[in-house]
Symmetry: C2
Subunit: 213 residues, 2 copies
């Protein structure tokens, strides 16, 4: 099978944002499980893992999601459209995860309490601050998802053009969750056009301090 178990660099170089999907080929539950077993290894703030994913495969549901997403047809044509959401409450997993840190010897009891207090402070911050916090860690997981999919011979496209209120309503997403992005997933039909321009090392890397480029 082509494009499976690839060299790391090849995965990064061959991943493209794909908007054209083969509607005859579906992603299996086994593939999804394998995919998310890699996604879960992404790092996150205090290891709190604010990410959750709603996998939409039903044709009617994909159509509803497309209607929330400016009618972009790859949302319907992909095998699975993934709604990536982030829990903006840092305390949701904190007790569980900090107990795990203690148990595994990462923290003494004193360190556990001190860091748990930091998370409690974070939880009191404005929604805007918690939103940035949740998007940051969850986007890391999104990149792992897109690369891991490529490694499995699948293509993806990250999307931010959607009506968040519509998606929340249609897919019963509670308040307190931020919709970070949508990611379409499936087998590509046509290779995309040649890659768009990327800025290079000299354009975006500074040394020692910021200098106007």
């Amino acid at each position: 099978m082509k494009n499976v178990d690839m060299d790391f660099e090849d995965v990064v170089k061959q991943r493209r944002s794909v908007r054209s999907y083969d509607t005859e080929r579906q992603v299996s539950d086994e593939q999804l499980k394998k995919l998310f077993e890699l996604v879960k290894l992404s790092p996150s703030s205090y290891n709190l893992q604010p990410w959750e994913f709603i996998v939409v495969k039903d044709v009617e549901n994909k159509r509803r999601l497309k209607d929330c997403a400016q009618g972009q047809k790859h949302v319907e044509e992909c095998s699975a459209a993934v709604i990536v959401i982030a829990d903006t409450n840092p305390m949701s997993h904190a007790d569980d995860i900090f107990e795990d840190r203690l148990k595994r010897g990462y923290y003494t009891a004193e360190q556990k309490e001190r860091n748990l207090n930091k998370v409690r402070e974070l939880a009191k911050k404005s929604f805007e601050e918690r939103r940035v916090w949740a998007v940051r860690s969850t986007s890391l997981a999104c990149m792992t998802l897109m690369l891991a999919a490529k490694d499995m011979g699948l293509s993806t496209c990250p999307m931010e053009g959607f009506d968040a209120g519509c998606v929340k309503k249609e897919f019963k997403i509670p308040d307190g969750y931020e919709i970070v992005m949508l990611i379409t997933l499936g087998y590509e039909k046509n290779r995309p056009l040649p890659r768009l321009k990327r800025y290079g090392f000299d354009d975006f890397v500074h040394f020692e301090k910021y200098e106007k480029k």
Copy 2:
């Protein structure tokens, strides 16, 4: 050389957040160039690539950065501490990138104008909205950086525990940039403790709609 040119899955599985660095081994400029040549291939909103990176290798500068980062000693002990910043003005690259889209056949002139107008609208949104927008794309690049480093035999640690005002002042970062995270980079001294708990597929994947877990 161990740990170089690895299989994709091995990179994801072996990447860890490393806080203990071999102070005798430095990351070369060639390694940094190779690293960022992979980072630049990350996707971003409209391909606008809001990410920039300040690579701090000078001992005195790393110490100043450590002082802005709760005194965490791996900021000083790593070979290079990377300050990841995001340009919150979506228009900064828009004309250039949209011209590239037109030139490569991604857009007709009409599509170019229509989408450029969407970016102009985005640029008028509140700082909070533009901040989330910039953090989202830039965090994707951060994950590519951490995985690509691992593929090259290097270790990293993403950090959000720092005083943003202090970092901005010390490293001359202009207003309009968000500091997304710090990433330490270098050769690890000690392997970290066994991996912390990760939630699994059944914990964070929903099907068709959100359901309370």
